[in-house]
Amino acid sequence: MMAAAQPGILIIEDDIDIREALLTVLTDEGYVVAGVANGREALQQLEECTPALILLDLMMPVMDGWQFREAQRRDERLRDIPVVVISADSEARQKLGGMGDVGFLRKPIELDLLLSEVARRMAG
């Protein structure tokens, strides 16, 4: 799953189907993408690489999206990586308060919205 090159995008999502679909879509678009199942795996992955963007699910076992974001912001090396939260929770947007500056995409994800948000965040 891990590309040989430095991944441009890290997907943190526990649902394997969603993770695979995002991988397919973004790889098809030409990005180098890696995927992990929870926050803890993401932190392990981030010891070896620094992606240009993180796509973050919120409700995950082991370490959820909020906990990951907290850990990320405490880490000097990681804190500037832009994050786009992807959640099926219709109220998730209101729950992002403590997370700082993050993008938001609602599940089910519109392909066009996803690609434009990814392009914008990676350029910014």
Binding site: D17, I18, A37, P61, V62, L114
Partner: protein
């Protein structure tokens, strides 16, 4: 405790006494007034039948009467001509107000006195009660039916008798079967009200002493038997309470307790709770007529409480359904997200003319998988509504539990991998007759749950014959997850309950509910032990032979034995 008939006391009673004040003749109906066998009254001093002040008044009346009779010149003819008799207001030990008048009567014998006892309460229903029954009941019902809020209804019920009919009152309710951890019904002491605002705080402290469900007298007994308890004189009971709990007894002494009644609240054949009325500092006592009125009030109040309860339950059901719908919508979006992405991607490729048949086939296969997952979720939703409606059918066949457990573990291996948990499976061959799909569902849901809440730590799954329980099979799933708090533990098998931090873990919250319902339909049961921080152990016990017939018979027996069955 002897309870007097409510009809027995005639408006007038004639009593003849000898020189020592002992009863030499009395109407049989006096038994109802004094709440004793009328034959036992003969030979007893009349004064001994009255409490404190009333006894003193009666003694005075008798002495004056004897003095008048013994006065020089007094003769039968003189007595006959006396226009007015001395009249004394009295109250019986049971609290019935009466008047006693010395009656001119020939043949009382030397020093003897004849008395007429008369009920001084107005006639009509509830005659002899301390309040006007009709007005009291109609006012009470207006108040009780003014709100559908369960708590307000109970508070109103406690207040409605104050101050005219009771000095203070207690409302105890039987908790629902799900709320009690043991077999004994859980009693909640919900409201204690006192007529004296200065004592309201003391009264509320009595709430900390819920009655003993096994008690031989009082609220516990009333809730078990559904029969009213009547205590014209409470002093003995208060003394007994003091030996059990001095603090409780001290509270009761402060509130005052001379006389009391405890009535069951029964609606649709179910004992919902009990209302207790107590007289204390006002110095009054309850009589049979008060008991009759209290019964009437409790009977009507139970309907108001039942209405409020039903309303509360229906609102709770609506709330649960709303929660369920929002969780269901969230879960259904799970498979919908990749489905939509894959389809849009395929469409995009087709439109751009970049058709790669191999990639397209992969996408379609993935889409099919997502559609299946959606189908399974919808199935689970239907399952729950089917279970709720009591329509769970079992199709049994000969199986080995060990094989079923192995199949389930294989199926859940990818999920366990993704969560970082290993599943350590120990099986011992255990043949039996079960519904394969339902059995898989039970083991699968327990395993899924352990993976979901297991914090990525190893999970143990054991299956085989239940040790020490011939004819029973056991499935035990142990995780090392966050565990379940004691507060949540009794509720985890209810619909739409999720024990863990809800924001962390998704899920329909239906898994354990389905497990329990299926096991019950199979004639089995589920047990859980859990420690916060250490993890949980779920143990399913399932009869090896077809338990569904027995479970059905059991359910029918329970249904036909009705609500009274719990009282035993």
């Amino acid at each position: 405790m002897m309870i007097a008939g409510e009809t027995g006391v005639p408006p007038f009673l004639v009593v003849t006494l000898d020189a020592a004040g002992r009863i030499t003749g009395i109407q049989p109906q006096a038994g109802a007034l004094f709440q004793t066998d009328p034959a036992a009254l003969l030979g007893r001093p009349l004064v001994s039948l009255f409490p404190d002040e009333s006894a003193t008044r009666l003694q005075g009346l008798l002495e004056r009467e004897r003095a008048a009779a013994a006065a020089p010149g007094a003769a039968a003819s003189a007595l006959e001509q006396r226009k007015t008799a001395a009249v004394e207001p009295l109250q019986t030990a049971a609290g019935s107000p009466i008047e006693a008048a010395a009656a001119p009567w020939l043949g009382s014998g030397p020093g003897g006195v004849t008395l007429v006892l008369r009920s001084i309460s107005p006639g009509g229903p509830g005659a002899g009660a301390m309040v006007n029954a009709d007005r009291f009941l109609s006012e009470a019902m207006t108040l009780l039916s003014s709100s559908l809020d369960y708590r307000i209804t109970l508070t109103t019920l406690a207040q409605v008798a104050l101050p005219h009919f009771a000095d203070w009152s207690i409302v105890d309710m039987v908790a629902g079967p799900g709320e009690s951890k043991s077999d004994a019904p859980l009693i909640r002491r919900l409201v204690v009200a006192h007529r004296d605002p200065a004592l309201a705080e003391v009264a509320s402290r009595v709430q900390a002493f819920p009655p003993d469900p096994e008690a031989k007298a009082g609220v516990g007994k009333v809730l078990r038997t559904g029969e009213a308890e009547f205590y014209p004189d409470l002093s003995g009971l208060a003394a007994e309470a003091a030996t059990r709990d001095p603090e409780h007894a001290a509270l009761i002494a402060t509130l005052g307790a001379r006389s009391g009644m405890c009535l069951p609240l029964i609606a649709r054949g179910r004992i919902l709770g009990a209302i207790t009325f107590v007289l204390g500092h006002s110095g009054r006592r309850y009589g049979p007529a008060d008991l009759a009125l209290a019964r009437d009030l409790a009977g009507r109040a139970a309907l108001a409480v039942d209405n409020a309860l039903l309303y509360e339950e229906s609102r709770e059901a609506v709330r649960a359904r709303e929660t369920f719908l929002s969780i269901a919508a969230h879960e259904l979006r799970g498979p919908l997200t990749p489905l939509q992405l894959q389809l849009q991607l395929a469409l995009r490729s087709l439109r751009a003319g970049r058709v790669n048949p191999e990639a397209l086939q992969e996408q379609i296969v993935a889409c099919e998988r997502h559609v299946r997952r959606l189908g399974r979720l919808i199935q689970a939703l239907l399952e729950v509504s089917r279970i709720a409606a009591g329509r769970l059918e079992l199709v049994t066949e000969d199986l080995d539990l060990a094989q079923v457990a192995r199949d389930v573990v294989t199926r859940y291996a990818p999920e366990a991998d993704a969560a970082g948990s290993t599943v350590d499976l120990t099986t011992v061959s255990c043949p039996g007759r079960w519904d394969r799909l339902r059995l898989e569902q039970v083991i699968g849901n327990l395993l899924h749950n352990a993976i979901k809440y297991g914090r990525g730590r190893p999970i143990r799954l054991e299956s085989g014959p239940a040790p020490g329980l011939p004819g029973w099979a056991l499935v035990r799933v142990q995780d090392q997850g966050e565990g379940i708090t004691t507060e949540h533990l009794p509720r985890i098998f209810e619909r739409f309950e999720r024990a863990g931090a809800t924001r962390r873990v998704g899920g329909l919250g239906l898994g354990l509910h389905i497990v329990k319902q299926i096991l019950e339909a199979m004639g089995g049961r589920i047990e859980v032990r859990s420690q916060v921080g250490l993890g949980s152990v779920f143990t399913a016990l399932i009869p090896c032979e077809d338990g569904s017939a027995r479970a059905q018979a059991q359910a029918q027996a329970q249904a036909s034995s009705g609500p009274g069955a719990r009282a035993g």
